[in-house]
C-alpha cells in the first residue's frame, strides 16, 4: 500500500500549490468561464489528489481525464455525462450490473441499486467488475480521507484562532 505519509505530503504539496495559484490569480478554465472560487478549490483538491496518486489507480486516471476534458463542474461530481474513451460510460457496465452473484442471499435489487450508486460515486467505477470496483473504492476512500485531513488542517490553520 502506498505510504500514507508520502501520499499526504504529496497531496499537501500539490494542493497548496494549486491553492496559491488559485489565490494569486484567476485560474483559467478551459471553458472560459470563471468558476466560483470554492469550485476551483474543490477541483483543485481532486486534481491534486489524483496527481499525487498518479495513474496507478483507475479512479485517479479517471479524475485526471475529466479535468483534462475541462468539465470542471463535473470533474468532482458527476460521472455519467462524460463520454469516456474507455468502455462505454454511456451505458455503464450493464452487464456488470446485471451480473449478480449466484449465491447472494440478499434480494438482488437493492444490492444492484447500491452497486450502481457506488459505481457512480467512485470515479471510473463504471467500467469494471464489482470486485475491482471494491478495490478502487477502498483506495479512493483512503485518499479521500487524507484529502479531507489535509484540507481541514489548512483551513484550521488559516482560520483565526
Amino acid at each position: 500500500m502506498t505510504n500514507p505519509g508520502g501520499l499526504r505530503s504529496s497531496f499537501a504539496r500539490i494542493f497548496l500549490r494549486s491553492l496559491s495559484r488559485i489565490n494569486s490569480g484567476r485560474v483559467s478554465s478551459s471553458r472560459g468561464r470563471t468558476l466560483p472560487k470554492h469550485r476551483s478549490i474543490s477541483i483543485a483538491a481532486y486534481a491534486s489528489m489524483a496527481s499525487a496518486v498518479g495513474t496507478r489507480r483507475a479512479w485517479s486516471r479517471e479524475v485526471l481525464r475529466r479535468i483534462r476534458r475541462g468539465g470542471a463542474r463535473r470533474a468532482s461530481r458527476r460521472t455519467s455525462e462524460f463520454p469516456v474513451g474507455r468502455k462505454g460510460r454511456k451505458e455503464p457496465g450493464n452487464g456488470k450490473k446485471l451480473k449478480k452473484e449466484a449465491g447472494d442471499g440478499n434480494e438482488g435489487s437493492s444490492i444492484q441499486g447500491m452497486r450502481k450508486k457506488l459505481r457512480r460515486l467512485v470515479p471510473g467505477g463504471e467500467g469494471m467488475e464489482f470486485h475491482r470496483l471494491l478495490a478502487e473504492t477502498a483506495h479512493y476512500i483512503k485518499c479521500l480521507k487524507t484529502q479531507v485531513g489535509v484540507m481541514r488542517s489548512i483551513a484550521d490553520y488559516y482560520t483565526p484562532v
Binding site: 505519509g5 508520502g6 505530503s9 499537501a12 504539496r13 500539490i14 497548496l16 500549490r17 494549486s18 496559491s20 495559484r21 488559485i22 489565490n23 494569486s24 490569480g25 483559467s28 478551459s30 466560483p36 470554492h38 476551483s40 478549490i41 474543490s42 483538491a45 481532486y46 486534481a47 496527481s51 483534462r68 470542471a72 468532482s76 452473484e101 449466484a102 449465491g103 440478499n106 437493492s110 444490492i111 447500491m114 452497486r115 450508486k117 460515486l121 467512485v122 467488475e129 470486485h131 471494491l134 478495490a135 473504492t137 477502498a138 479512493y140 476512500i141 479521500l144 479531507v148 484540507m151 481541514r152 488542517s153 489548512i154 483551513a155 490553520y157 488559516y158 482560520t159 483565526p160 484562532v161
Partner: protein
C-alpha cells in the same frame, strides 16, 4: 419338501422344528424388536417354543421372514446392528425355533458365523463411530467406499452423523471386503433364493425390512451422489459457502477441508487459507462446472475486498451482510465528498494569502523556491518573473495538465514569488511543521490579499 428346502437354506434342520407347522405368520409389528440384537435379547425375544405360541403357524413364512429380516439387517439397520454380537432377526418372534436350538442351528452354518462375526465387527465399530460423534477425516475412504457402502450402511441415525457407517466400515478395514462381498454377493443370492418362492410373504417382512430398503436407498443415493462429486472434483475450488452436508468431507481434501468446513458458515469473516488461483478446489456438495467455479472465485474476491473496506469504513465492523455494508460504504464516500466540498468552500473564504500557501510547501520544492528568493521582498504585484525560472518550474512540475487549467506560467510565478522565503526545508512531512515555518517566513512579507476578512491573523498582514 419346500419347507425343508427353505429350512435347509436357512441352515435349520427341519427335524428340529417339529412344530413349525403350527406357526402362523405373526403380526409384523409388535413382535419386531429393532433393538433385539443382543444375543441375550435375542434369546429373550425368541419366543416360547413353537408349540406354545399359537400365532405362529407358518413355519416357512416365519423362517423366511427371519431370513429376510436378517438380510435386511445386513443391508443395514444400524439400530439393530449396534452393539450386537450376532445378528438376529429383528423379529425375535417368529423364528421360533426354540431358543437354544435356533442359535445352535444358526451357528452351525459357517456362512452365518462368518457373517455374524463380520457384521458384529461392523456393528460394534459403527456403534463406536456413532457414539464418537465424528466428523472427520476418513475422507479418503469415504468417497471411495460410498457407493459400495451405500447398500450396506444406512440408517437415518448414522447418516445423520454422516460418517458413522463409513467410519465403521473403514475401521473394519480388512473385514470390509468380506463384508462387501457378503453384501454384494450373498445377500442377493439369499434373497433371491429365499424370497422369490414366497413373494407373498414380503408384505409380512415389510414391517421390519421396509425401513431398511428405504434407508439403504437413501444411503445409496447419498453415497452415489457423494462419490460422483468426489470423483468429479479433481480440481475444484474451496469456497466459503457450504451447500452440502456439513459433516461430509471431500475425498483428498482432508485437513484443509476440515478446517474450511468448520468455518464455512461465516461468509464474511473467515480467515482464508492461502489460495492458489490457478488450482482451486470445490467443496463437497458443490457444483464443479467452470461457471460456478469462476463464480466462486469472484465471490471470494468480492468478500475479500469487502473485508478490506470494512476496516476502512468506520463503524462497519458490526455490520454484516453485503447490503448493509455497501450502504455504509456508499454513505461514507458521500460524506467524504461532501466534506471536501465543504472544506473547499471554507478554504475559499479563508485562504487568501498567496505566499502562505506557497510557503507551506514541503522542502522538496526548496530548490525552485530558491529561485524566487530574490523577489522575496516585493509587495503587491509581483513583477513578471524571468522566463527561465518559469521554465524550470514547468520542468519540475510533473503535472502539466494542472498547469494548463489552473494557471498560466506567469501565475505560477506569482504563487512562487510570493511564497518564497522557504529555504530551510520544513520538518519533513509534517504539515504542521511546514505550516509553522511558513508562518514564520511569511510574517516578514507583505502579502497581497484579494479578499481579506477582518478575522485574519494580523501577524500575517502587517507591513
Amino acid at each position: 419338501m419346500e419347507n425343508n428346502f427353505i429350512l435347509a437354506a436357512a441352515g435349520i434342520q427341519p427335524q428340529s422344528m417339529p412344530d413349525m407347522q403350527s406357526w402362523q405368520c405373526p403380526p409384523p409389528d409388535p413382535m419386531f424388536h429393532p433393538n433385539g440384537w443382543d444375543s441375550p435379547a435375542f434369546n429373550a425375544t425368541v419366543p416360547s417354543p413353537p408349540g406354545s405360541d399359537p400365532r405362529y403357524v407358518c413355519n416357512d413364512s416365519a423362517l423366511i421372514r427371519e431370513l429376510v429380516g436378517k438380510l435386511g439387517v445386513f443391508g443395514g439397520d444400524p439400530e439393530e446392528i449396534a452393539g450386537s454380537s450376532c445378528y438376529s432377526t429383528p423379529l425375535g418372534s417368529p423364528p421360533n425355533f426354540g431358543p437354544k436350538t435356533n442359535l445352535a442351528e444358526f451357528a452351525a452354518d459357517p456362512g452365518f458365523v462368518e457373517r455374524a462375526a463380520k457384521f458384529s465387527c461392523f456393528g460394534s465399530r459403527s456403534f463406536n463411530g456413532r457414539s464418537g460423534g465424528v466428523e472427520f477425516p476418513r475422507g479418503q475412504f469415504a468417497a471411495a467406499r460410498d457407493v459400495k457402502l451405500g447398500r450396506v450402511s444406512s440408517s437415518p441415525s448414522l447418516n445423520g452423523l454422516g460418517v458413522g457407517p463409513r467410519l465403521g466400515i473403514i475401521e473394519v478395514g480388512g473385514s470390509l471386503r468380506p463384508l462387501e462381498r457378503i453384501d454384494s454377493m450373498e445377500l442377493p443370492e439369499e434373497e433371491s433364493s429365499v424370497i422369490e418362492p414366497v413373494p407373498s410373504l414380503e408384505t409380512g417382512t415389510r414391517g421390519s425390512g421396509e425401513s431398511n430398503p428405504r434407508k439403504r436407498k437413501g444411503a445409496a443415493n447419498r453415497g452415489k451422489a457423494n462419490a460422483a462429486k468426489g470423483t468429479g472434483n479433481s480440481s475444484a475450488k474451496r469456497c466459503k459457502s457450504d451447500e452440502g452436508e456439513d459433516g461430509m468431507k471431500k475425498e483428498g481434501n482432508v485437513v484443509d477441508e476440515e478446517a474450511g468446513e468448520k468455518k464455512n458458515k461465516d461468509e464474511g469473516k473467515q480467515p482464508e487459507p492461502p489460495k492458489d488461483y490457478i488450482h482451486v478446489r470445490a467443496r463437497r456438495g458443490q457444483a464443479t462446472d467452470s461457471h460456478s467455479l469462476a463464480e466462486r472465485v469472484r465471490r471470494e474476491k468480492i468478500s475479500e475486498r469487502m473485508k478490506l473496506l470494512q476496516d476502512l469504513v468506520p463503524g462497519c465492523n458490526k455490520v454484516t451482510g453485503k447490503a448493509l455494508m455497501l450502504d455504509e460504504i456508499i454513505n461514507y464516500v458521500q460524506s467524504l465528498q461532501r466534506q471536501v466540498e465543504f472544506l473547499s468552500m471554507k478554504l475559499a473564504s479563508v485562504n487568501t494569502s498567496l505566499d502562505l500557501a506557497d510557503s507551506l510547501m514541503s522542502k522538496d520544492h526548496r530548490h525552485h523556491h530558491q529561485m524566487y528568493t530574490p523577489p522575496q521582498m516585493y509587495e503587491g504585484e509581483a513583477p513578471p518573473p524571468p522566463p527561465s525560472s518559469s521554465n524550470d518550474l514547468h520542468r519540475l512540475n510533473p503535472h502539466r495538465q494542472l498547469d494548463s487549467h489552473f494557471a498560466p506560467p506567469s501565475d505560477l510565478q506569482y504563487g512562487g514569488g510570493g511564497g518564497v522565503g522557504y529555504s530551510g526545508g520544513g520538518g519533513g512531512d509534517d504539515l504542521h511543521t511546514i505550516v509553522q515555518m511558513g508562518l514564520g517566513q511569511s510574517s516578514l512579507q507583505h502579502t497581497t490579499t484579494t479578499t481579506t476578512s477582518s478575522s485574519f491573523d494580523p501577524q500575517l498582514f502587517h507591513y
